[in-house]
Amino acid sequence: MTLKARARRLAVRGSRAWYRFRGPRQPGPPEPPAVPEGWRIGPPHYVGVGAQKAGTSWWNRLIQAHPDVVNAGGQPKELHFFDRSWEAPFGDEDVQRYWRYFPAPDGAIAGEWTPGYLIDFWTPELIARAAPEARILVLLRDPIDRFRSGLTHQLATTRAPLGHRDIQGAFQRSLYAPQLRRVLAAFPPERVWVGQYEACRADAARELARTYEFLGLAAHQLEAAALQGEVNPTTREKFEPSAALQASLLEGYAGDMAQLAELMPTLDLSLWPSAREAGLA
C-alpha cells in the first residue's frame, strides 16, 4: 500500500472515530424570530413533512416565492422542532413556542418543511396537536432513486464508509406506506397533499399551481427561471447499488408501493421506474 493510500485510510478512520465520539450535529430549532410590528404569531399554515431527497428544498423555495407567503427573519426551511419530542413530554408551552416561529401579517401565511417529520413515528400527531388546522405537504420520489440519493448525500456529509445499518436505514426511509398511514391518521385527507418529485420535474408550473391552490393561495405565475433549479444538487461521489441489491430493494418496495397506491389513489405510480419494473403501473 502506498503511503498516500495509508494516510487516506488513516484519515477516514480518524474522521469516523471523531464522528462517533462527537455524534452528528444535533439539529434543532434556532431562536424564534422577532415579530415585526403589526404581525401576529400563530400556528403554521403549512407543514411539509417529507421526504428526504425528494426535492423538498426546491419546492419550499417555490412556495416561499409566492407574495403572500412570509418568512420572518429568514427562518431555515427545516425547524426540526419535534426531533427530541419522543424522549421529552410535549406540553402546551411547546405548542406556544412552536407558534412563535410563524409570525405573519394579515392575509399572509407562514410554514416550514422538515423532511424528517415523516419518518419520526411520534411526530404527525404532535403536529396535529400544535397546528390542528395546518395543511400537510408530502413530496415523494421513486423509492430506489430516493434510497440512492439519500446514501449519496450521507457519503458526502459524513465522509465515512457506509455500514450495513446505513443501508438498512436508507431502505427503510423509502418504505412510504407506514409513514403516510401515520400522517393520514393524524390529519383528514383533504388537508394532506401528496406530490411526486417526478411530476414536479416534468411540469413544475402545473404542480406549483396545484400546491398554491391546496394552500389556499391566489394563483401566481413564477418566471420560468425562478421555477428552475435543484437546490441541493449532488456533486460528490454517487452511491450506486449493485444489481443484486437493486433486486432486493425492488422486492422490498413492491409490497409497500401497492399499499401506498391503496392509501393514496391519486398517486401516479407510472411515474416511478421502480413501480413499472415491479409491474404495479
Binding site: 459524513t158 455500514g163 449493485s242 443484486a244 433486486a247
Partner: protein, 257 residues
C-alpha cells in the same frame, strides 16, 4: 474498499476432528429481543444438534454483504460454521437476518434447504426491551431520535416476513410467538424440533423455562403516552401480519386503548 467480498465475511472456526461441514439445517432469522437466545439454547440442547463451540449463536454472516455477491468459496465458508458429527443437525440464529433487506436472497443461495425459525414478540414489549440493548449503538450518526426510529422499524414484522417469503417457500419458515413459548415452552419446543426434522421429544431433565440473555440494567420505562403511541402505530402493521399468519394470537399483544 475491501478487495473482495470475502474481506467482509467472518472467519469460520476450526471443526472438531471427525466433524464435517455442511449447510445449516436450521437458521433463526428473527427477531432481536424476542427470546431468541433462550430458544436457540433449547434447540441446541437437543441430543441430535451440534455446533462447533467457536461458532456463535449469531454468525452475522451476511451483515456486510449488501452488494449481494457470494462466490462458491463464500458459500463453502458459511458451511464451515456448521460442522457436525454424522447424523447430527446444525444451525445458527442471527436475529437481524430477517430485517436486512439484502439477506433473505443471500441466505437462499447459501442455504437453500435450511429450515427458518422466526420468534416474534409483542412489538411494544420488543421496543421496550430492545431500546435497552445497544442494538442501534453502532449506527453512524446515531441519536436518540435515530435509535427510536430504528427500534420502531424492527417491530414492523409484516414487511420483513413478506421479504422472507419472497425468498423461501412458506413451508420452510416456522413463525413462533414468544408469548406462547413462555406459557407453554414444552409444546412450542416440540413443534420446533419437529419442524427442523428432529425427534420431537423434549430431552429429559432439560429446563425449558430458563431465561437467557435478560436485559442487563433497568428496562426502559415507557410513559403512558409513549406506550399508547407505539400500540397505535403498530396496530395496523399487526393486523397485516395477522392476515398473513392465521395462527397468530393478537390478543397476546398490546392493543391501543
Amino acid at each position: 474498499m475491501p478487495a473482495s467480498t470475502s474481506d467482509l465475511l467472518p472467519h469460520p472456526p476450526v471443526a472438531p476432528v471427525g466433524w464435517s461441514p455442511g449447510p445449516p439445517d436450521y437458521v433463526g432469522v428473527g427477531t432481536a429481543r424476542s427470546g431468541t437466545t433462550w430458544w436457540d439454547s433449547l434447540v441446541s440442547a437437543h441430543p441430535q444438534v451440534s455446533r462447533p463451540s467457536d461458532t456463535p449463536k449469531e454468525v452475522h454472516y451476511f451483515d456486510r454483504v449488501w452488494e449481494g455477491a457470494l462466490s462458491e468459496a463464500d458459500i463453502q465458508r458459511y458451511h464451515a460454521f456448521f460442522a457436525r458429527p454424522d447424523g447430527h443437525l446444525s444451525g445458527e440464529w442471527t436475529p437481524g437476518y430477517m430485517l436486512d433487506v439484502w439477506t433473505p436472497r443471500l441466505l437462499r443461495v447459501a442455504a437453500p434447504e435450511a429450515r427458518l425459525l422466526v420468534l416474534l414478540r409483542d412489538p411494544v414489549e420488543r421496543f421496550r426491551s430492545g431500546r435497552t440493548l445497544a442494538e442501534n449503538r453502532f449506527t453512524v450518526g446515531s441519536t436518540a431520535r435515530a435509535a427510536a426510529n430504528a427500534a420502531f422499524n424492527r417491530g414492523i414484522y409484516a414487511d420483513q416476513l413478506t421479504r422472507l417469503w419472497n425468498a423461501f417457500p412458506r413451508e420452510q419458515v416456522l413463525v413462533l410467538q414468544y408469548e406462547r413459548c413462555v406459557v407453554d415452552p414444552a409444546a412450542q419446543l416440540r413443534r420446533t424440533y419437529e419442524f427442523i426434522g428432529l425427534d420431537p421429544a423434549v430431552p429429559e431433565g432439560l429446563d425449558v423455562s430458563g431465561r437467557v440473555n435478560e436485559s442487563r440494567g433497568a428496562k426502559v420505562v415507557l410513559s403512558e403516552w409513549q406506550e399508547d403511541q407505539l400500540a397505535r402505530h403498530y396496530a395496523p402493521q399487526n393486523e397485516r401480519l395477522a392476515a398473513m399468519l392465521p395462527d397468530l394470537d393478537l390478543s397476546l399483544w398490546k392493543r391501543p386503548r
